[in-house]
């Protein structure tokens, strides 16, 4: 136990004592003075009535009588035949009170030898009784545990929550114990000893807590019925054992609870660190090109492009062709762009937020931020085409799309929380998503992107139209598939060329326009989608192993086509990450890399 806890406990006990003292004083003092008054009256009356008695005589008499009473004599019954109080049964009872440390005190050794023997007797007997109590308590505890377990299974069958069941079983066991060991003896003593109910209860509690004042002692006045005292003693033993076992049970539960909460906290922390680690790893994965994929045309193209852009960057030719320099060395947007887009997104975030309305604020803002990022980028880069791809993807799984939207944005947002480099890389990755789409625009050697490039240019021309289109894309995620150019819809992120080449016409057309909402933002999340798509490709290629691992859990449920699930898995990771962060409950132990939670999460 920690020191502060201990000190707090000590202070608590002290306070408790002082409080008790005050209360007792309040209740007892008046009564005491009343008794005193009564006694003085009686004495005065006595002295008055019997004038031949002097005060001195009286006080002498009283002194001796009191001493005799303290020695345990019963001077009320002045019978000449003497029945000792130290008969065997009473002595047995006295020993019992010594051993259990109750110590009533109505009977106590007066002689020196008696006292000495008492000390030695107690020295041996108390530990022995302690062991006995432990043993009896153990067996009783086992029986109690079995009964409680049976009860608990009964309740658990009815699908009551375990903690509730545990609490209920504890309460029940305590109640049963109270009934057997408190209520029944109280009634018995009330009848046998002719005490009031309160006095009997008082005696029972004071005895079972081993306080043992001795003002009320069961069986003290009975000379006959020697069976009564041993029975009382047996009750004491079992009652003590029962309550000791209850206390141990409660103590153990508390300990387990504290261990569990500690374990859970540890787990939480482990989760958090694991996640950040995984994010870092993923970002590392993004950066590390897989040398085994040398044959992949797309990658080759990409690398060539990267090199060219790098060269261009070095020559400082960033500007309007910014998109060429957009993708940095590692395939991410350079920071320059990030900051730019960020600043831009700030303006849009608020709008987005207001437009989107309900939903987690952070999520909305994040989503809007991300999307606006993409949007601004797309706008600047005259993006657009990937929209179709996005649609394709979106169509598949509306929820995923929505999640994705939120996610990619959320991702950027969440990444802002994670280490700087990560956030930068991720944001840039999301940016690069957007950029990727359109970079294969002008002056880029990607043949594959020609279509998109044309799309881009086409889009650029029709800003207004695209605006609406894109907006639609924003809001209405499940764009009906049939409106989109067919073919390969979903699949094949790799290579991109076929997809884009297949896309015959610029996308804006087929998209159902009718967006009732006024769209302030023209940006195409579709572009972002494509970029993300592109990034996906890279990701998939460059770290295919980890990705395939990731894909496994999600794969089967979604679609038959191989590529799609992979993409989806990536996307889904983001939502899962965020959802997991959002709901702290039922976290799974993190694996490395993090396995996406089962699809059920999305379906919730």
């Amino acid at each position: 136990m920690r020191c502060p806890t201990l000190l707090a406990l000590l202070a608590g006990v002290m306070l408790y004592l002082v409080m008790g003292a005050l209360v007792f004083r309040y209740w007892e003092s008046p009564m005491e003075s009343k008794e005193h008054e009564k006694l003085l009256c009686t004495t005065r009356d006595f002295l008055g009535n019997h004038s031949c008695v002097t005060a001195q005589n009286l006080s002498d008499l009283i002194k001796s009588v009191v001493k005799a009473v303290e020695a345990g004599l019963d001077v009320k019954h002045s019978s000449t035949n003497f029945t000792s109080r130290w008969d065997l049964a009473s002595a047995f009872f006295f020993c019992g009170t010594i051993i259990t440390t109750i110590g009533f005190g109505n009977l106590s050794p007066r002689t020196k030898w008696g006292q000495l023997f008492c000390v030695c007797y107690a020295l041996v007997g108390i530990p022995m009784f302690g062991f006995l109590l432990a043993g009896v308590g153990d067996h009783m505890g086992t029986g109690l545990r079995k009964a409680v377990w049976k009860m608990e299974t009964l309740f658990l069958k009815r699908r009551v929550s375990p903690t509730y069941v545990r609490i209920m079983s504890a309460v029940l066991s305590i109640l049963i114990g109270c009934l057997i060991f408190l209520a029944v003896p109280t009634l018995v003593f009330k009848e046998v000893e002719d005490w009031s109910f309160l006095e009997a209860l008082y005696f029972v509690v004071i005895t079972l807590t081993t306080v043992g004042f001795g003002d009320y002692v069961a069986g003290a006045n009975r000379r006959d019925g020697d069976l009564f005292k041993p029975l009382v003693w047996l009750w004491i033993v079992f009652g003590l054992a029962y309550f000791a076992s209850i206390l141990t049970m409660i103590g153990n539960w508390l300990r387990v609870l504290s261990k569990k909460t500690r374990a859970e906290m540890e787990e939480l922390r482990a989760h958090a660190t694991d996640w950040t680690q995984n994010i870092q790893n993923m970002s590392m994965d993004f950066r590390i090109p897989n040398p085994l994929d040398l044959n992949d045309p797309f990658l080759l193209q990409r690398r060539r492009w990267k090199r060219s852009t790098r060269r261009r960057v070095r020559r400082g030719a960033l500007g309007h062709h910014g998109r060429q320099g957009v993708i940095g060395e590692n395939g991410h947007l350079p920071n320059r762009w990030v900051s730019h887009t960020r600043s831009m997104t700030r303006l849009e975030v608020r709008n987005e937020g207001t437009r989107l309305g309900p939903g987690a604020d952070s999520r909305v803002s994040a989503r809007s931020e991300g999307r606006s990022l993409g949007r601004t980028l797309a706008r600047s880069l005259s993006m657009p085409a990937a929209r179709s791809v996005m649609e394709l993807d979106y169509v598949r799984d509306p929820v995923a799309m929505m999640m994705l939207q939120g996610e990619s944005a959320f991702e950027s947002k969440s990444l802002s929380e994670s280490p700087e480099s990560d956030s930068r890389s991720e944001v840039s990755s999301s940016d690069s998503h957007t950029s990727d789409m359109c970079t294969p625009g002008q002056g880029i050697t990607f043949a594959s992107f020609d279509a998109s490039g044309s799309l881009c240019t086409g889009e650029r021309g029709s800003q207004g139209g695209s605006r609406q289109v894109f907006f639609q894309e924003d809001i209405r995620f499940p764009v009906p598939l049939q409106q989109l150019p067919k073919s390969h819809n979903p699949t094949k992120p790799i290579p991109m060329s076929p997809i884009f080449s297949v896309k015959p016409m610029p996308l804006p057309m087929p998209l159902p326009m009718p967006l009732p909402m006024p769209l302030p933002m023209p940006t195409p999340p579709g572009c972002k989608m494509l970029d993300f798509f592109g990034e996906n490709l890279a990701y998939i290629d460059e770290s295919s192993d980890t990705l395939s691992d990731r894909n496994q859990p999600v794969e089967g449920a979604v679609s038959p086509r191989p590529r799609k699930p992979r993409r989806r898995s990536i996307r889904r990771q983001l939502p899962h990450r965020s959802t997991l962060k959002e709901r702290d409950s039922d976290m799974q132990p993190p694996s490395n890399p993090p396995t996406p939670p089962p699809l059920s999460h999305l379906r919730d």
Binding site: M1, V13, V53, A71, P109, P127, V136
Partner: protein, 314 residues
């Protein structure tokens, strides 16, 4: 199954032995105290007769009177003229009473008179007793590190003793220190302060108090005209609390030692609490681990783990 039988047989044997112990004690007490009681009774009879003879008081009125006096005396109210005006329920005494209630000592020299007082004591005790035990256990746990594990590990590291020998020696020293510090010295102090107490009475009082038996035949600070009564009672309270802690400490050290030496396994008694590991401090970890190793080596003796009181957890 045999282990289960064994545990039951052991328990029964234990109970029987315990009953025999009680009977033996009863017999001895009876033999010792009875003659003294007889004598006292005879003396009182004589006194009463003398009183009645020399005065105009008749027996019944005297009995009636005495009943009243004794009733009052039971609650601590003395009729004797030089009894101080100090109440039994002033703040210090009430605190003392609350303390005896909560530590389960329960002298009984002052008990609640009113019904409300009794009802309140019930609830107060039901809450306060577990609370006090919790505090005492917590203190003892921390003290154990200081007093037991630290010195033992130091012993082992510096002198290179075996754990068994180290714990045994340490326990003996601890016992000696506790007896000296908490029995002998306070007894001397008490016998000095209380006029009517001899040294044996004081030791008897210390023992009865620290074992929380609390018979109540000797209670400090009840002398009429006691100087600094409040301070005295409060210091007795502190002594009670600290002494209880030391008793628990000794008991716990003994339990660990018995565990180590395999006594508890042999008798199938409950093992010592293992949850101290949570509070382990790094410096004594080495010694602690070795103790656990030794305990583990002792564990194979124990076939039935269910006798451990601490396995009653979930």
């Amino acid at each position: 199954m045999s282990s289960w039988y064994k545990s039951w047989i052991l328990l029964t044997g234990f109970i029987l032995f315990y009953v025999a112990y009680l009977l033996f004690g009863a017999f001895v007490f009876s033999t010792i105290e009875r003659p003294v009681e007889d004598k006292l009774k005879r003396d009182i009879q004589v006194l009463k007769e003398e009183f009645l003879n020399q005065s105009c008081v008749n027996a019944t009125s005297l009995e009636h009177f005495l009943e009243g006096v004794l009733q009052a005396n039971k609650y601590g109210i003395s009729i004797l003229p030089n009894s101080s005006a100090s109440s039994n329920w002033d703040l210090a005494s009430s605190l003392f009473f609350a303390n005896t209630l909560v530590t389960t000592v329960g002298y009984g020299h002052t008990t609640p008179l009113s019904d409300t007082g009794k009802a309140f004591s019930i609830f107060y005790a039901l809450l306060g007793v577990p609370f006090t035990m919790l505090v005492l256990t917590a203190c003892v746990q921390r003290l154990m590190h200081l007093v037991t594990y630290g010195p033992i590990s130091m012993c082992r590291q510096k002198i290179g003793l075996e754990p068994l020998a180290a714990t045994a020696i340490h326990f003996a020293i601890l016992l000696l220190v506790v007896v000296l510090g908490f029995f002998v010295v306070p007894a001397v102090v008490f016998s000095y302060i209380e006029d009517t107490w001899s040294f044996l009475d004081a030791i008897y009082f210390c023992f009865i108090t620290l074992c929380t038996i609390g018979l109540g035949d000797y209670v400090p600070g009840e002398k009429p005209g006691q100087n600094f009564r409040s301070l005295y009672k409060i210091s007795v309270m502190v002594y009670l609390f600290v002494g209880l802690m030391m008793m628990y400490l000794v008991l716990r050290a003994f339990h660990r030692m018995a565990d180590l030496h395999g006594l508890t396994s042999f008798f199938q008694l409950p093992h010592c609490d293992e949850d101290i590991e949570e509070d382990k401090e790094p410096i004594i970890e080495a010694g602690h681990e070795d103790q656990h190793e030794a305990e583990d080596s002792a564990k194979p003796l124990d076939p039935a783990s269910q006798t451990s009181y601490n396995t009653i957890n979930r």
